[in-house]
């Protein structure tokens, strides 16, 4: 189920919240209700994968018990992590590996064509972190219902944030969280409205401009290419941070505080700063469960740089089973290595405007690999951005931008203004007051966004 759908906003969320608080006198019923609701949410489009996620929960819960109660905890932990990675490998990476092997000419091409279960990367990482922390003695075996809710809680289930048991379990276990807290409901509604606005008015409106460039990278000019790349930079931010706002908002209605995931990432003055602001819970996961176990900063300098590079290569691959993501991760890893070397050499920091410009252009440019359909397409796009494209087509994207319900050109300008604003949705939510103006704005945005869902597109084939 999508957050920006009628099914979710009109039926699912109100019913889930009403049931949760109605059953609040009995916390176990409340938790059970929320687990059931989350499974309905998960299986709404395709119930085929509900047994898969239930199996994954049961597997990890049992492994956690074995780690705690049996000897050789470390071995059980490795077995558990391997099991999770195997699941992820089969569903997400098997075809990529088989295709890559076939391209080397060593084996014939065989593809499994398995549909990727929704949210598998997120619920797998969440549970890997849990097993590692159980083995480290940082986490204790929870009640099975609370553990199931920890994994399935619908606001974070499909696209994060990647949560940590230490910050979630006490909230799921708290009896007071099963009673309505109106300030949380208010902030939840406000965040929900903010997220919907980001997704509906900005991210979705930018899509034609993005497609204009990325769908035809070999036949566009420099202006088109830069416009498309910039539009994608904004689209992915508003899409993902909008989704996260909706997730945080929905969770807050249930008195659950999910960790923030974005903190004005395009304000970053260097790449390190960027990764402290972009998909923060993934950065945290990679740092705690990959970079530090690899040795982190407490190694020789070449080893630290290698650790950084490996962490970001795998981070790139986590986003998708394609070489474009690997290159994207590698570029960010290399950028961070370069920053570290500069810092170790005692170089002075660049003036903020210069530092910001370099960082932003680097981020925009590397997004090309993230969005392009293939490496050749990405290189074609970069060639066009460098001025070696087909300048004759330079007006195409601008023409597309002028079309649409909310023209992409308007969304592009509005998006840049929003990105440049000093306050983001986190700070605005924190400082929300119970004023009529805030209420009217929240209601107006909710209504306007919901009216945008029902897209009635003309069928232009008629113009044959």
């Amino acid at each position: 189920m999508l957050f920006n759908s009628y099914d979710y906003l009109v039926y699912f969320l109100p019913i889930a919240a009403l049931g949760y608080f109605a059953l609040g006198r009995n916390p176990r019923w409340s938790v059970g209700w929320l687990v059931a609701a989350s499974l309905v949410f998960y299986g709404w489009w395709n119930p085929r994968y509900v047994p898969l996620i239930l199996g994954s929960i049961a597997f990890n819960f049992v492994v956690a018990l074995l780690i705690q109660r049996m000897r050789h905890a470390h071995a059980w932990m490795i077995a558990g992590v391997a099991g999770n990675l195997m699941l992820l490998g089969v569903y997400k990476y098997a075809d990529f590996v088989l295709r890559t092997l076939a391209q080397t000419g060593s084996v014939p091409l065989v593809q499994l064509h398995l549909a990727l279960p929704l949210g598998i990367s997120f619920f797998t990482f969440t549970q890997i972190a849990f097993l590692v922390d159980v083995a480290r003695g940082k986490a204790r075996e929870p009640a099975i219902a609370n553990y199931a809710l920890f994994v399935t809680f619908f606001p974070h289930l499909l696209a994060g944030p990647i949560i940590h048991h230490a910050e979630m379990m006490p909230q799921f276990a708290s009896a007071s969280n099963k009673r309505v807290a109106w300030d949380n409901v208010a902030r939840g509604l406000f965040l929900l409205a903010m997220g919907l606005a980001k997704k509906t008015f900005l991210a979705d409106s930018l899509a034609p401009l993005v497609a204009a460039g990325f769908d035809h990278p070999a036949s566009i000019g420099a202006i088109d290419a830069w416009l498309s790349a910039l539009a994608y930079t904004l689209q992915i931010y508003f899409d993902f941070s909008g989704y996260t706002d909706m997730a945080l908002g929905a969770a807050l209605i249930f008195n659950i505080r999910l960790p923030i995931n974005f903190d004005s990432p395009y304000h970053a003055l260097d790449l390190r700063d960027f990764w402290h602001r972009w998909h923060m819970t993934l950065s945290r996961f990679l740092r705690e469960y990959l970079y530090i176990p690899l040795g982190g900063n407490r190694s020789s300098e070449p080893r630290v740089l290698a650790n950084l590079l490996v962490t970001f290569l795998l981070g790139g691959l986590w986003h998708g089973a394609a070489w474009t993501f690997v290159v994207w991760g590698a570029l960010h890893g290399a950028g961070l290595c370069w920053l570290r070397v500069r810092r170790r050499e005692g170089r002075r920091p660049l003036p903020p405007p210069v530092a910001w410009s370099i960082t932003f252009v680097f981020v925009v440019t590397t997004w090309v690999f993230f969005r392009a359909a293939s490496l050749p397409d990405a290189f074609a796009m970069l060639r066009a951005m460098a001025g070696f494209g087909h300048a004759a087509a330079a007006a195409n994207a601008l023409a597309v931008a002028a079309q649409g319900t909310i023209p992409a050109a308007f969304a592009l300008v509005a998006g840049l203004v929003v990105v440049a604003m000093p306050r983001n949705s986190n700070s605005m939510t924190r400082e929300l007051s119970a004023s009529w103006l805030a209420g009217a704005a929240t209601s107006a945005v909710l209504v306007a966004a919901i009216l945008q869902f029902g897209h009635v597109a003309p069928f232009l084939y008629f113009n044959f």
């Binding site: 009109v10 208010a186 009216l451 069928f459 232009l460 008629f462 044959f464």
Partner: protein, 374 residues
């Protein structure tokens, strides 16, 4: 992140704050619900795409680009005994023409580039509220191209929620801002987009275009006749799978309905195109298969109008390779419902030989100095 009321403030202040937030929440929710309910009421009452009733308080608006939204409304709410379903080539067929030839009242539910999967979905809407006596399906080979569930989703997904009987999933229609603008333009009597109010010819476009040989040949790439429409290549297995998934079950499930499956008279240029793209044999093989597939269904007749070169070879009757003039539409429904040129396993090969011979003998028009690529 967001901290609850500080422990330093008194319970009274906390209580007052909580009440204030509660009032704020209820105000926001109430304002949102009232606004959305108002939109829903306006869209449901005006019902610009006629999903719940045919327009009676205002002239109906048949928007030229919104077949996919209006057709299910017509399928559910119009009064008819005969339904015509086809692609854009059949849109310029008036309801009374269909009724006169096939028995009435009748409704034309054609929509551009309709796929077999979309025909199945549309027939689902037809049988929700009707048990039609007759359904004429003018089959386009391209409707059977691609995967069996393929739909023409270039303009967004088919609004399947309008093709069922469940009103609870109609919110994308009832709460749509675009539909609200349509409703308001009806109420304010504004014309925001091209439409016709002629309920007898809701999709008629033939009066807006020019027919004739010059029009057909304008800009035609003789070496690549498919350049303009970019029709996909078809395979026999793919077409069979699509037919067996989308049409055969419906034909079998409604023995009381007479189904007339019509092969329409494309211009000869289409057959040349098939020849260029190596699609001729697969096309004939599928026609032979069809006669076998429906042989046991006494309620189904195939009518093959493709060998009539007095029509297909006369480019003055066409606008382009595929789309013919309205008199051809009338000719089609008349022959289809009279079962003239009925095709079955006993004569399908004769029809094929006939068409192949006419194709071989046909002299394509000369266009400048360019030559045809056969």
């Amino acid at each position: 992140m967001w901290r609850r009321s500080s422990t330093s403030i008194s319970d009274d202040v906390a209580g007052a704050l909580s009440k204030r937030w509660r009032a704020w929440c209820w105000s926001v929710l109430a304002a949102t619900i009232v606004a959305l309910a108002a939109v829903l009421a306006v869209n449901a009452l005006v019902d610009p795409f006629q999903q719940y009733r045919l327009a009676s308080t205002h002239p109906p608006r048949f928007y030229r680009l919104h077949h996919r939204f209006i057709d299910p409304g017509l399928a559910k709410n119009a009064s008819y005994e005969t339904a015509l379903i086809g692609s854009s080539i059949m849109e310029s067929t008036r309801n009374d023409t269909i009724a006169a030839a096939c028995g009435g009242p009748a409704v034309n539910l054609s929509m551009p580039a309709i796929s077999a999967s979309e025909i199945r979905t549309l027939l689902g809407a037809v049988y929700l509220a009707h048990d039609p006596r007759r359904v004429v399906i003018v089959l386009d080979f391209n409707a059977l191209a691609g995967a069996p569930d393929a739909r023409q989703d270039d303009a967004g997904p088919l609004p399947t929620y309008l093709y069922d009987a469940n009103v609870f999933n109609d919110l994308p229609y009832l709460l749509s801002g675009v539909v609200l603008r349509k409703s308001l333009s009806v109420l304010l009597n504004r014309n925001d987009e091209a439409f016709t109010t002629d309920a007898n010819a809701p999709w008629f476009w033939a009066n807006q275009v020019t027919f004739g040989r010059a029009e057909v040949l304008r800009g035609l790439d003789l070496r690549d006749l498919n350049a303009r429409f970019r029709q996909p290549a078809r395979t026999l297995d793919g077409m069979r799978a699509s037919f067996e998934r989308n049409l055969l079950p419906v034909l079998s499930a409604h023995p009381d309905t007479r189904f007339d499956l019509v092969w329409p008279p494309y211009s000869m240029l289409v057959w040349l195109d098939f020849l260029q793209r190596d699609q001729l044999d697969v096309t004939f093989a599928f026609k032979r298969y069809m006669t076998q597939a429906i042989a046991r269904l006494s309620n189904v007749t195939i009518v093959d109008l493709q060998a009539h070169d007095e029509i297909t070879g006369n480019l003055d009757l066409y606008r382009d390779l595929y789309h013919f003039a309205p008199q051809v539409n009338e000719w089609i429904v008349a022959r289809a419902c009279a079962h003239i040129d009925a095709e079955d396993a006993s004569n399908v090969e004769r029809y094929e030989r006939d068409l192949r011979a006419r194709l071989a003998a046909w002299q394509p028009p000369v266009v400048g100095s360019a030559s045809w690529n056969r």
